[in-house]
Subunit: 335 residues, 2 copies
DNA sequence: ATTTCAAATGTAATCGATTACAGTAAATTC
DNA sequence: GAATTTACTGTAATCGATTACATTTGAAAT
């Protein structure tokens, strides 16, 4: 291993001078700078990042906890995180938790042991183990999309799920639909509650029902969409419009609806949530709500880094704008 | 910050004893162990990972270079990498390069500066900057799917792209197709050459043409599929079967074919490559080649870690099995 | 030529944990 | 009871870089 000592000997200077040449060259004479750089080059020297980090006490890394790597929506968020992190000189440690709390604890522990400086949570759980909860009290942490449960409030970057759901509901009500159903995602989440509340609020204003037997699903997956439609079509009354709580669910739902010989949107309108890439290229292209996933990721890093730097927090909650994307999976209610 | 010194004072022992209690408890009396553990708990102590790492010279991290985070296929590979890495006690640093060589250099540099112990490259380029090439000579590195360019041969985990393409070609030839086209991915890659060669070999055996004007595309994206179909349909002869070099391309292609009022597979058969999740739920479901992406990721980590541990390498190339998935996007050639 | 001051460089402490080596206490053997 | 071995624990060196402080160098001022 070529270390700073070897370089200093090669250049005939002290290690301090080598370090200064690399970190703050203006403190060093042009002549010695020259000598040192020569030696650095000759030795093929790279400062040992681990060593610098122990000294500074900062790892310049952040952990990102993802419940599910196969969801393309998370990917866009992570893309934004990656980009912003790199710009700010941080690297990203990926933590695929599969929703398993043991894994969450393990990854969250990285921040406690100085392996990372902060944490971005894409799921809704408080990721630290119970015995670490107290230690975790001053840990920089941000949640994206979801909100971290517990008494302490961490900054959130989120969408106005309530308003977005209302927009979708208005869109469908405007088409004259009266028989609604929903295939929801994970029930324990904040998102679930807000989206459902948004839909309910519009339907109530219009005096339209959303009975319990018209709710299906339980996870944010294609399979959940398929299973959801199977259940819904067993009911005595067939819905004419289905709210899917994300695009994956909608993809599964449309697939299954067609399998039953029904048409989208002529027989049943389907709307999704997230606007993942393929949604625009489905048949029919999916009506959905666009979330600025990439920007959410970027913003999360900015907020996290300012927490790490102990800058005062301006807002503890940022709501990013959504956009209703009307495509062809939704249309007028059948007669 | 609670460090080992504080704990040692609390427990009334030396730092060495504290360290031993945590790392090799059998070397410590039950009584002192008790005292120390008590103090550890009381202080809320966690060993500083950075400090341990400087000492050992190992970061227990690996960097993964991904050209494109939005491709769900890469995600499955990364999922496998993540899983295997965690089992082996490594953490994963994510490097989204966007195919930009400056970024590649930067991420690859992490291994040179001890920020990571090894590197997995999902793209085909040699990721180190030219001036670092010599230093990089002994760096543990593995490529997945693609092969890293350059004279030195790094271990590869890949698919038999040649055989897989032949399987697809046979499948289509078996349906009686005679007018073929292909929408290819990035032309600079090994994959491109092998897949094309596989297709060509079958067509030649059957005396069927694949003229240059029937080749389109240039990147692994939905857009490339759309643009490719546009180009192909401008040609005087319309193909009856299109090889798409991945599923994203195929999704774009099918979308665009339908837009032109043509049917898949009645007018044009389309086949893809990768078997990403949504492929099964498209309309029509996509005929494609399944790659064991998850296992490829796992295997890559295993090979990388044994390189890091300087274990002798058994094979420098591992070819994993593919599977032809016949769905409804391919069918008999039209009359 | 001497003094003064700033700039450049070197020495050594430091970050936090690990570990070779040394020292001490307890247990075993004769 | 003395000698020897074994088991624990402590002291201090170490990993590689950074940096406070001390020292040297050289230029400017008198």
């Amino acid at each position: 291993m070529t270390n700073i000592k070897k370089v200093s000997e090669l250049a005939g200077v002290s290690t301090a001078t080598v370090s200064r040449t690399l970190k703050s060259p203006e403190q060093v004479t042009a002549a010695t700078r020259e000598k040192v750089m020569q030696a650095v080059k000759q030795a093929g020297y790279r400062p040992n990042w681990l060593a610098s980090s122990v000294k500074s006490g900062k790892s310049n890394s952040i952990v990102v906890l993802v419940p599910n790597l196969t969801n393309p929506f998370f990917l866009r968020i992570i893309g934004g995180i990656e980009q912003a992190a790199q710009e700010k000189g941080y690297s990203v440690l990926l933590g695929d938790t599969q929703g398993d709390s043991r894994r969450e604890h393990e990854y969250a522990g990285m921040v406690l042991s100085n392996r990372a400086d902060g944490l971005i949570q894409l799921d809704h759980s408080f990721p630290f183990a119970p015995q670490d909860a107290e230690l975790a009290d001053n840990i920089p942490m941000v949640s994206v999309c979801e909100r971290i449960e517990g008494e302490r409030k961490y900054p959130v970057i989120e969408l106005d799920n309530y308003a977005a759901s209302r927009a979708l509901a208005h869109h469908l009500v405007g088409y004259g639909h009266q028989k609604f159903a929903a295939i929801v995602g994970q029930i324990s989440s904040q998102i679930y509650r807000e989206r459902l509340a948004g839909i309910r609020s519009v339907l109530q204003e219009e005096n339209l029902p959303l009975p319990d037997e018209m709710l299906a699903g339980g996870s944010y997956s294609i399979e959940s969409g398929i299973e959801g439609v199977r259940q819904l079509l067993k009911q005595p009354v067939r819905p004419t419009a289905i709210f899917c709580f994300n695009d994956d669910i909608a993809i599964g739902a449309i697939h299954e609806i067609k399998k039953h010989g029904l048409r989208v949107p002529e027989d049943i309108s389907v709307v999704g949530f997230d606007n993942i890439k393929v949604s625009a290229f489905m048949d029919p292209p999916l009506t959905t709500v666009d979330q600025p996933a990439y920007d959410m990721g970027r913003r999360a890093v900015e907020v996290l880094v300012s927490q790490i730097r102990k800058e005062p927090l301006t807002r503890s909650k940022e709501v990013l704008p959504f956009q209703l994307i009307e495509r062809e999976s939704s249309g007028p209610a059948p007669q």
